[in-house]
């Protein structure tokens, strides 16, 4: 085990996969000479050269479309889209291109590409640089969407994403890059589509991804002081979703809070609620509680932004309410 920051763990995954497979290449804005605005690709252009680590023009639409067909023709592109807020520029490539070909072309092509991006609020970046947009991406069939919360998962899941034969959207969070954690040495893969129970509990289950796992962990501490034993399930992968892990946890606690940093209406929390109803309704002792962003733009000023974002305190309040 080595102690690493989340950004360093991602960097290690990229380096190892590029060393192991010459068909892996990286492209995106500011990722080469500068090493990425969040320093995830630091040092990689020096090690692998300008052919495999490319600084690009500001062209998200074409870059994403190019990742799709480059992946069909023998390479494994890893594209960095600097902010998840820019992903709407990539949507044709994801919704009308990558999503369809595996099925529409009857299995003729593989599309092993990864789009790395980062979303989420709390950094004062304003309405166009703070959104999660994970719900929108998770709705697209044929594409995996994952969002690790720890350095170990960041590394193991990025390695798995790069080796996957179909598109993976890899969601990072601007406030997770500097968190530290133990990361296993060497070539350790974390399978996509598997949740992790990061804290065992008996009274209520909290389901979350990415930075919301950090908030859920704080909420569990607060709830412990309230005399409530909360279980935290880090879904890690939004799609495919580990339904078995959800069912197993609710069968134990009979109460659920679903947390998502995106909008509420038609959002991922709504999907989780419906999934719970589909599969484990009979085990519930109370309605599922949702903690999400309100359906509004994210404001700039600190008290305004803080008031909006899902937090440990909001998760605690939702848990207490559903346990009443």
């Amino acid at each position: 085990m080595a102690m690493m920051r989340y950004a360093e763990a991602l960097n290690a995954a990229l380096r190892e996969e590029m060393q192991a497979d010459p068909s892996v290449f990286l492209f995106g804005e500011d990722i080469g000479r500068y090493g990425g605005v969040f320093k995830v690709t630091k040092g990689l252009m020096e090690e692998f050269g300008e052919k495999r680590v490319r600084d690009t023009p500001i062209s998200e639409q074409a870059l994403t479309a190019m990742a799709v067909t480059a992946a069909m023709t023998g390479t494994r592109p890893v594209l960095e889209i600097m902010y998840a807020d820019f992903i709407p520029l990539s949507l044709d490539a994801l919704v009308n291109q990558a999503s369809i070909y595996n099925y529409i072309w009857n299995g003729q092509v593989k599309m092993p590409f990864v789009v790395r991006t980062q979303g989420g609020g709390g950094a004062g970046a304003g309405a166009q640089h703070s959104k999660a947009l994970d719900s929108m991406l998770a709705q697209i069939p044929g594409i995996k969407v994952v969002a690790p919360s720890t350095p170990a998962d960041a590394k193991g899941m990025l390695k798995a994403a790069i080796r996957d034969s179909q598109p993976v959207i890899f969601l990072e969070h601007k406030l997770l890059y500097n968190i530290r954690g133990e990361v296993p040495e060497g070539d350790v893969i974390v399978q996509l589509g598997k949740a992790a129970t990061v804290r065992e509990g008996s009274d209520i289950s909290i389901f979350a991804t990415s930075k919301m796992v950090v908030e859920a962990t704080k909420a569990a501490d607060l709830l412990a002081a309230d005399g409530v034993s909360a279980e935290i399930v880090d879904l890690r992968s939004l799609r495919p979703l580990d339904v078995d892990a959800i069912v197993a946890s609710i069968a134990k606690t009979h109460h659920a809070v679903v947390v998502n940093e995106g909008w509420r209406f038609c959002g991922y929390a709504a999907e989780l609620s419906a999934t719970i109803m589909d599969h484990v309704f009979d085990e519930l002792d109370a309605p599922v509680a949702r903690v999400t962003l309100p359906d509004m733009p994210i404001p700039y000023s600190e008290p305004l932004e803080t008031a909006m974002l899902p937090s440990a305190e909001k998760i605690r309040a939702a848990a207490l309410k559903t346990l009443k």
Binding site: L63, T69, A70, M72, T73, G74, A93, N102
Partner: protein, 323 residues
């Protein structure tokens, strides 16, 4: 002249153009009988672009095309039966009936593929060229795109990167004068769209898009250059869409005299005239009869081929993860 196709190559281009023309006319007739499904975008009169441009490629090269891509499918080596079967939604179609006529692909033949989001084929070809450059395959990618697609933002983004990185890609602009019903001069301030190539540091040539030999020569020269690592090039093929946008087009916006003038310059007429002196009437008549017979057979088989079954748990079915 450099890059002129041999007589045998020209004959093969002529044969494939005939196949495409028969395909389009047969589809038009079956549409009138109510036997087709969904809109069909015919390329009658534009066959020289798709067929001659792809004739200048090698087997390992790859092409992305438009929603009007029949000439590219046949030009790049696909057989008639899987194309016709796909258009009629049969299990034996090139994509098992899942794609339909606008989205046909044959990865083995390098047709990757038809694309019905106007402009999306341009970055698709650039992405394949990026892959070829990184892997050092020595192949080239091609995009056949229209004057409508030339007005999209993604066209600029993709061509800028192709020029910047000297990607091995040939951009074949099939300038058929219309984006659906809107004429090109109502969509762009310039008539010759390839003047934009200068902004991407790539050479461009304007050719008569109804002259298969002219298309072949220009595309072959650009492909050769791209293969040598000298970067992308553009060939602007001037042609005209003599049929409507699709089988659902009500018409009324094209001048009859324009249609008549372009029909008089049909690519089949131009190639036949050139070939007559080279090989004589009997050889051409044989090729023409064979193309007709090949089309008849493909339609007869494809129309009696089985329809596909919907299976929820197939490996490449997006519904397979549903529970």
């Amino acid at each position: 002249m450099k890059n002129t196709p041999s007589v045998e190559q020209h004959l093969d281009i002529y044969r494939r153009m005939l196949l495409v023309r028969h395909l389009e006319e047969r589809l038009g007739a079956l549409h009138k009988e109510g036997r087709t499904r969904g809109p069909i975008h015919r390329c009658d009169g534009q066959e020289a672009v798709g067929v001659a441009a792809t004739a200048a490629l090698e087997a390992g090269d790859k092409v992305a095309t438009t929603h009007r891509g029949h000439a590219v499918y046949i030009g790049k080596g696909m057989a008639m039966r899987p194309v016709v079967a796909e258009i009629f939604g049969r299990a034996t179609g090139a994509c098992g009936g899942r794609a339909g006529h606008m989205l046909v692909a044959d990865a083995e033949k390098g047709v990757i593929g038809g694309n019905a989001i106007v402009g999306a084929g341009i970055p698709a070809a650039a992405g394949m060229a990026l892959s070829m450059q990184i892997l050092g395959t020595g192949n080239v990618a091609m995009c056949v795109f229209g004057d409508g697609a030339a007005q999209t933002g993604i066209c600029h983004e993709a061509m800028n990167m192709a020029g910047l990185w000297k990607l091995p890609v040939v951009f074949v602009l099939e300038h058929n004068q219309f984006g659906l019903t809107v004429p090109s001069d109502v969509q762009s301030p310039v008539a010759d769209l390839s003047i934009r190539a200068a902004g991407y540091a790539m050479p461009a040539e304007i050719v008569d898009g109804n002259d298969a030999v002219a298309v072949y020569r220009a595309v072959a020269a650009m492909a050769e250059r791209a293969r040598r690592g000298e970067g992308p090039g553009m060939v602007e093929c001037k042609t005209y869409r003599v049929e409507g946008f699709s089988t659902s087009d009500m018409g009324g916006y094209q001048k009859p005299e324009d249609i008549a003038a372009w029909k008089a310059r049909d690519p089949l007429i131009i190639s036949r005239k050139a070939l007559l002196g080279d090989v004589g009437e009997a050889r051409l008549a044989d090729i023409e009869a064979a193309a007709k017979a090949e089309t008849d057979e493909a339609f007869e088989i494809a129309l009696s081929d089985p329809m596909p079954q919907f299976l929820v748990d197939e490996a490449c079915n997006p519904y397979s993860e549903a529970r």
